[in-house]
Structures are given as structure tokens and as C-alpha cells.
């Protein structure tokens, strides 16, 4: 059949219904991905405001803007929000949108689970922020060490709210990780063998395995904390055979892989942008993939890195020092591959590429201080000072937020069909890069001068006043950059110039479909013959035909060679994921107050899950 007829038939079966019903029942990965991204950036903005409040309080000694209790909530909220509600979810969100397109399929695997994961994420974020708004925000730090967060020192419900928010966000993250793994393993376009998978997709695959293996640790830790607080267990009570270090082991077994859960997607973004704006594939594809996998493996050998001052056996410290340093090797290898690509290519300095350059500069600085704090003697000196604050902001902002902003400029045209402003982009990059370095580099100095982190004020006699004021003023520049970014996003989404299907002349499959993509992604699935399918023959795209135009259908391919194995139905729109998320939310929040909530609350959860899974008698279910 001809193109218009194909489009009409496919749109009829794949599209999301208009109106509220469609909004609530959609299973389109692009709609859900966009929703996730927007929500994550709202949390970023909220967390940024908290940071400004902290900087205002610290700009002068003995300031009165924020009292100590509220300050404790604010730094806890800032860290928790950025790590659990922004950084991990936004990376998974970008993957939800892009991975199916980049592997050449029509939807993510388990699209109803995808819808569920978004609602659960939203509920967890709202729980945390509503609690903060009513002065019940957590205040024991973003990693909630016991005994500070235990029943003796954290009476009331603040720590329980934090711990339950963990359950929400980890359920969501694990669900998305499963979807990504199965989409990459089994839904790649015919011909996209393992050595033809885009580097961004490889990054998300490794990241998803990190999520699957690391996040159960934080769920067990937070569940044990809830049980200690609610029903009198003794996991962390040394007087009854428990151990406070148990929390730290479980938390950091999750927490250091989390750094890579945030960093590796950014690595994939960088690779994609470098390839496109140098007009050549990234140097050393195989080495890049092996570095990604090595980083994922080594991420699990580092957790005690965060506990060097906790009094551990010397031999253990030596092992963790060595593994902390070893991880610099795959990271360094990737840096050199990107530099080699840039050196040999013809860089085009568009905004996405500027953010990549910013990433390289800032991340390398963070990496250098990372090697410093990997050393036990040095870390003993700077632990819990502003040196560490500077280090991890260089690593996380440089290593994740800069590539993310570059990725937004890069893929925004695909997601919305409109270009962002190149002029504003350069201003935004300049403000954010300058503001970031002026804000966080001086913190290394403060840390070496001994300023502790997490203090709400300091005495005028300490030699910290001038640097703190400088930092606070610089934070305004950084904030201005982000404000301008949000303005550019909103303005461009409304009235940016129209984006063609492939505005950058890129070579990955998402650029083979329209901007924005239709609900079915590809009218006929692309067939892949190399690592750069759109560069093989710029005028003609090889495709596969034969999928149904009467039901939602995609192709399942084999793991290694991506040979077609079966056609498979993709579930249609359903309201049940929302009901399941609401039932789960009710159960989890209720369980903050009584353990019986788990017993009675699981009944509506079970009912909604049966409603979800029961066949609806539509072609996708029964043919």
C-alpha cells in the first residue's frame, strides 16, 4: 500500500486517544518519556531553588535567613531530590524516549509497565515535596545514616517519608531498567547485531544492569530502616546485635553504582554528539563498549570509598583504594577516544557540542580530585568538608548535567519538531559553564581550609566569609543560565523554527523518521547493515515489510545477530497502570503509619494487577 494509506492505518491503531482519557491511559513511550523528562526538570528547578536558599544562608556568617532545622531539611531535600528525583530518572527518561527509536522498533518493551513506572515516580516525588511543604521533610541527609535516621534520634515521620520515597523511586527505576534491557536485547531492528548497537544504547544497557543489581540494596536498606522505626526490628541497633555500619555498606553498595547510573547515560550522550558534530564515528567503538562494561563492573567494587573514615580494617581499605583508582582507566580511555575523534574530525561548534567540551573540562577536574579522595590518607583529611562537596558536584554536574543539556539541544528537534535557539544556547552554555566553575571550584579551597559540609552557618572569625560570599554570588550566574535554558525550552517548543527529520545529518535510526515521530515510530521497520545505518546510503533506507496494519505489532529479533524471530503484539492503551500506581501509592503511604497497611493495602494492588493483566479481547491480546 502507499505511504498515506499506511500512515492512516498505523495511526489509527497506534495513536493515543485525545483528551484526558488518552493522557491517563497512554502507553506510547514517547509521550511517557517526554512526561518523565519534563517532570525531572521540574524537580531540578525545585532542587536548584533549594541550593540558592542554602547559598543565601551561607553567604554571610551567622545569617538568619534559615534556621538550623529548616537548613537540615533543605540540604537533605536538595541531595535527595537531585539524586533520586532528578539525576537517575531523567537519564532513564531520555532512554525511554530514545532507545526504542535508536534500535528501530515501535515501542518500548512492556509499555504498560512503563506507564506504571512514571506514575509511581511522580507519586514518590510528590510525597517528598508535600512533606517538605508541611515541615515534615526528611532532615537526616540524602543518605540518611543511622543512628541519626533511626528511631532514637529521628522521632516523627520524616525519616519514614524519606525511606518510603526510596521505595517509590526504586520501583520506578527498576521497572524502566527491565524495559530497556528487554527492548535492547529483543527488539533491535533486523541486522542490528551487537557490534552495530549505537553507543548511547550500549550506555543505557549497562546502566540498566547497574540499576537491576544495585538498587535492591537501597530497597533492602530502606525497608530495614522502616522496620526498625515502625515495628521494632534491630537491624541497626548495636545493643541488640545490629550494626550501624550495615546501613553504610548497603547504602553505598547502591550509592556508588548510582554515580555510574547517572554518568554512563551521559557518556552515551557525549559519544552520540561527538560523532555527529565531528562527522565521523567515535574512534575505538569496541574499546568504548568494553570501557562501558568495565565501568559497570568496577562500579560495584567501590562502595567502601565512601566509608574510609568509618574505621575499617586496613586490608579492606587498601583493596577499595586500588579499585577506586582502577576505575579511572576506563573513564580515561573514553576521554581519549573522544579526543581522538575530535582531533581527527572536523568539529562543528553547535550548542550540543559546546556542552560536550564543557563536560570534558569539568569531568576531568572531577576525576582528578576523585583520584585524590580515592587515597585513604587524603580522604581522611577532607572527608565531610567542602572539598568533597566540590568533587562530587564536578563529577555529577560535569559528568551528567552538561551532557544532558547538550543532549536536550541535540534531541529536542526530534522530540518536538522544532529547533532550539542557537544564539540563546551559546549564552546559556557560557553562563552555566562560567557560573559552575566560579561556584564550585572555590569550594575545594574552603574544604582544604577545613569548612565542614552541612553546617547552616559559621563564625565570623573563621577565614571563610569572603569565599562563601563569592560562591553565593556565582551561584546566581549559574541559576541565570538555567533560567535562560528553561525559557529557551518553553519558547522553542511553542514557536521554534520547524525541524527537519535529520537537522544535524546524524547517522542513527531515530533520525530516519519524522520530527516529531509518528505514534508508530516507523512505517516499515528499518533494516541495519552497519554501525551508521543512515550514512550507508543517504538516499535510501533498507526496510522490512510484513508487520500487521490491524493491530499493534513489532518484531522480536535474536540477541546476538538481531535476526527476526517472531512478530509480537504490543499492548494498547490501558487505564490499569494508573490504578495500580494509585493502589501502590496508597499502600506505601499508609504503611508509613501502620504495618497492617501492607496486608490490607496489598488487596487493591492485587485487584488492579489482575485488571491490568486480564485480556481485553482486542487483537493485541487474543490473536
Amino acid at each position: 500500500m502507499d505511504e498515506p494509506e499506511l500512515d492512516r492505518r498505523l495511526t489509527a491503531i497506534w495513536s493515543t486517544p485525545a483528551g484526558v482519557w488518552g493522557t491517563l491511559s497512554t502507553v506510547d513511550h514517547k509521550t511517557i518519556g517526554r512526561r518523565y523528562i519534563v517532570t525531572a526538570f521540574i524537580f531540578l528547578a525545585l532542587g536548584g531553588m533549594l541550593a540558592l536558599a542554602m547559598r543565601l544562608q551561607l553567604s554571610q556568617p551567622e545569617a538568619r535567613f534559615i534556621g538550623p532545622d529548616r537548613y537540615n531539611q533543605i540540604f537533605t531535600m536538595h541531595g535527595t531530590n537531585m539524586m533520586f528525583l532528578f539525576a537517575v530518572p531523567v537519564m532513564e527518561a531520555v532512554a525511554v524516549y530514545l532507545v526504542p527509536l535508536m534500535v528501530g522498533t515501535r515501542n518500548i518493551a512492556f509499555p504498560r509497565l512503563n506507564a506504571f513506572s512514571y506514575w509511581i515516580y511522580l507519586a514518590g516525588g510528590m510525597l517528598l515535596w508535600i512533606a517538605f511543604a508541611v515541615d515534615a521533610g526528611p532532615d537526616a541527609g540524602w543518605f540518611a545514616y543511622v543512628p541519626l535516621s533511626g528511631p532514637e534520634y529521628a522521632a516523627g515521620k520524616r525519616a519514614d517519608i524519606w525511606a518510603q520515597m526510596i521505595t517509590f523511586t526504586e520501583v520506578s527505576a527498576l521497572a524502566v531498567a527491565v524495559e530497556i534491557v528487554v527492548t535492547v536485547f529483543k527488539q533491535r531492528a533486523p541486522g542490528m547485531s551487537l557490534d552495530r548497537i549505537p553507543l548511547f544504547v550500549w550506555s543505557m544497557l549497562v546502566t540498566s544492569f547497574l540499576v537491576i543489581l544495585a538498587m535492591p540494596a537501597i530497597m533492602i536498606a530502606s525497608t530495614a530502616l522502616i522496620l526498625d522505626r515502625l515495628v521494632g526490628t534491630h537491624f541497626f541497633n548495636p545493643a541488640e546485635g545490629g550494626d550501624v555500619l550495615l546501613w553504610q555498606h548497603l547504602f553505598w553498595f547502591f550509592g556508588h553504582p548510582e554515580v555510574y547510573i547517572i554518568f554512563l547515560p551521559a557518556v552515551g550522550m557525549v559519544s552520540t554528539i561527538v560523532a555527529t558534530f565531528t562527522r565521523r564515528p567515535v574512534f575505538g567503538y569496541l574499546a568504548m563498549v568494553m570501557a562501558l562494561i568495565a565501568t559497570g563492573v568496577l562500579a560495584f567494587g567501590l562502595w567502601v570509598h565512601h566509608m574510609f573514615v568509618a574505621g575499617l580494617p586496613r586490608l579492606g581499605e587498601s583493596f577499595f583504594t586500588a579499585s577506586s583508582m582502577v576505575i579511572a582507566i576506563p573513564a580515561g580511555l573514553q576521554i581519549f577516544c573522544w579526543l581522538a575523534t575530535m582531533w581527527a574530525g572536523r568539529p562543528v561548534f553547535k550548542t550540543p557540542f559546546l556542552f560536550v567540551i564543557g563536560f570534558v573540562v569539568i569531568f576531568v577536574i572531577g576525576g582528578l580530585t576523585g583520584v585524590m579522595v580515592a587515597s585513604v590518607p587524603f580522604d581522611t583529611q577532607v572527608h565531610d568538608t567542602y572539598f568533597v562537596v566540590a568533587h562530587f558536584h564536578y563529577v555529577l554536574v560535569g559528568g551528567a548535567v552538561f551532557p544532558l543539556l547538550g543532549a536536550i539541544y541535540y534531541w529536542f528537534p526530534k522530540m518536538t519538531g522544532r529547533m532550539m535557539s542557537e544564539t540563546l544556547g551559546r549564552w546559556i552554555f557560557s553562563l552555566i559553564f562560567t557560573g559552575f566553575n566560579l561556584t564550585f571550584f572555590p569550594m575545594h579551597i574552603l574544604g582544604l581550609q577545613g569548612m565542614p559540609r552541612r553546617i547552616y552557618t559559621y563564625q565570623p572569625e573563621m577565614p571563610w566569609s569572603g569565599v562563601n560570599m563569592f560562591i553565593s554570588l556565582s551561584a546566581v550566574i549559574l541559576a541565570a543560565g538555567f533560567l535562560l535554558f528553561f525559557i529557551d525550552v518553553i519558547r522553542s517548543a511553542k514557536s521554534g523554527s520547524a525541524a527537519p527529520a535529520n537537522p544535524w545529518g546524524a547517522s542513527t535510526l531515530e533520525w530516519a523518521t519524522a520530527s516529531p515521530p509518528p505514534s508508530y515510530n516507523f512505517g516499515r521497520l528499518p533494516v541495519v547493515g552497519s554501525l551508521e545505518p543512515l550514512s550507508d546510503n543517504p538516499e535510501t533506507l533498507p526496510v522490512a515489510t510484513g508487520l500487521s496494519v490491524n493491530r499493534r505489532e513489532l518484531v522480536v529479533t535474536s540477541l546476538v545477530e538481531a535476526l527476526p524471530q517472531a512478530r509480537e503484539s504490543s499492548p494498547g492503551n490501558s487505564i490499569w497502570p494508573l490504578w495500580s500506581a494509585l493502589a501502590t501509592t496508597a499502600m506505601l503511604i499508609w504503611s508509613i503509619f501502620t504495618p497492617w497497611a501492607v496486608v490490607w493495602g496489598s488487596i487493591p494492588v492485587a485487584i488492579t494487577l489482575v485488571g491490568w493483566f486480564w485480556p481485553k479481547g482486542v487483537p493485541e491480546d487474543d490473536s
Binding site: V178, I212, A544, G546
Partner: protein, 200 residues
């Protein structure tokens, strides 16, 4: 850009079986997540055990009867489970229906000895860390038995409904059998840990 048809998918089967099924991989991924959780709970048990010269804390070793009965039941359930997985692959609806009833019974049967296991531990969850970890481990595994039992019951209803005779449903039955294998497999190291480690 112009499209060039190089592949025709029309003759592929409309649903994959085994490793060609998306839900098979989804089940495997969830087993990996939950397996990590079980492994970590055993690590916590061994970690707490390593901190003290005496283990169990302020309690005798658990009685063996209930735990051993449960273990025997779970291992015995593997035979009908293997059969139902085979019948599902063969898409033999009458046998699958019988198999699901049998597996529903085998899913429910362990709950009785499980109930007695809690008291066989001779300690409550709020007495000390030993009590806390053993109750949580038993509770964690009970959650998995209940989850699989409910899914088996739903599948039983489904296979007796008009939706039953469908390759997709047979795939669901097969995946559910795979998951039950996992529930049994995760119990064995926990049994060794809970019942025999305190006797070392």
C-alpha cells in the same frame, strides 16, 4: 528518504516462544532483581552473624521439622512444574488446565509449614537483630510464594476462560513455571542459612 524493502516479516510466527518471547526475558529480569534482593538478605544475615561470637542471639537453633517439610514440598513441586512447562510448550490445553490446578495446590501447600516456621525460630522480630533478619527472610520468601500463588490462580481462571487457548497464554503459563522454579531455587540457600548455619 526513499525506502527499499529488503525483508518480509509476514511469515514469522505471530508470537515467540521461550527466548523469542518478550515476557520470558521480562520474567528473567525480574528474577535477577529479586535474586539480588535474596542474595543481599543472605549477606546481611551472614554479616550480622560475623559480628557476634554467639549466633543465634539469645535463642536456641531453630527446630528443623517445619522448615524441612516445607523444603521437601517445594522440591517435590518441581516435578509437576516441569510437566506443566512442557505441556504449555506443546500447547496442550486440557493438560495445562489440570497442571495449573495441581500447581495451585502446590503453591498453597507450603503456606502451612511456613506458618509454623515462624514459631520454630524461637524468637520474635523485635527481640534482637537475629530475630529481625530471620523474620524478614521468611517474610520475603513468603511474599514470593504468595505472589506466585496468586498469579497461578489467575492463570488457572484464564485458561478455563475463552481467552485460554492462545499461544500468548501458553507462554504466560510457561513463564509462570519458570518463576516457580526460581521461588524454589531461592529457598534452598535460605534453608541452609536459616536452619544449618546456626548449628555450625
Amino acid at each position: 528518504m526513499r525506502e527499499s524493502v529488503v525483508y518480509d516479516l509476514t511469515n514469522l510466527p505471530p508470537h515467540g516462544l521461550g527466548t523469542a518471547s518478550l515476557t520470558w526475558w521480562g520474567t528473567l529480569a525480574f528474577m535477577l532483581i529479586e535474586g539480588t534482593g535474596f542474595a543481599l538478605s543472605i549477606v546481611v544475615y551472614l554479616y550480622l552473624m560475623s559480628l557476634t561470637p554467639q549466633w543465634p542471639l539469645n535463642a536456641p537453633p531453630p527446630d528443623l521439622l517445619a522448615g524441612t517439610v516445607l523444603t521437601v514440598l517445594l522440591v517435590a513441586s518441581l516435578l509437576p512444574n516441569i510437566l506443566i512447562a512442557r505441556w504449555a510448550r506443546e500447547q496442550d490445553l486440557p493438560k495445562v488446565r489440570i497442571g495449573l490446578i495441581v500447581m495451585s495446590l502446590f503453591g498453597a501447600a507450603p503456606l502451612t509449614p511456613r506458618f509454623f516456621e515462624f514459631s520454630a525460630m524461637h524468637i520474635k522480630w523485635d527481640q534482637n537483630a537475629y530475630g529481625s533478619i530471620v523474620w524478614v527472610m521468611l517474610g520475603l520468601h513468603t511474599t514470593h510464594i504468595l505472589t506466585d500463588l496468586i498469579e497461578t490462580l489467575v492463570l488457572t481462571c484464564l485458561m478455563f476462560s475463552r481467552h485460554g487457548d492462545n499461544p500468548r497464554r501458553f507462554g504466560d503459563v510457561s513463564d509462570n513455571a519458570m518463576y516457580w522454579n526460581f521461588v524454589v531455587a531461592t529457598w534452598l540457600p535460605m534453608y541452609v542459612c536459616l536452619y544449618w548455619a546456626p548449628r555450625l
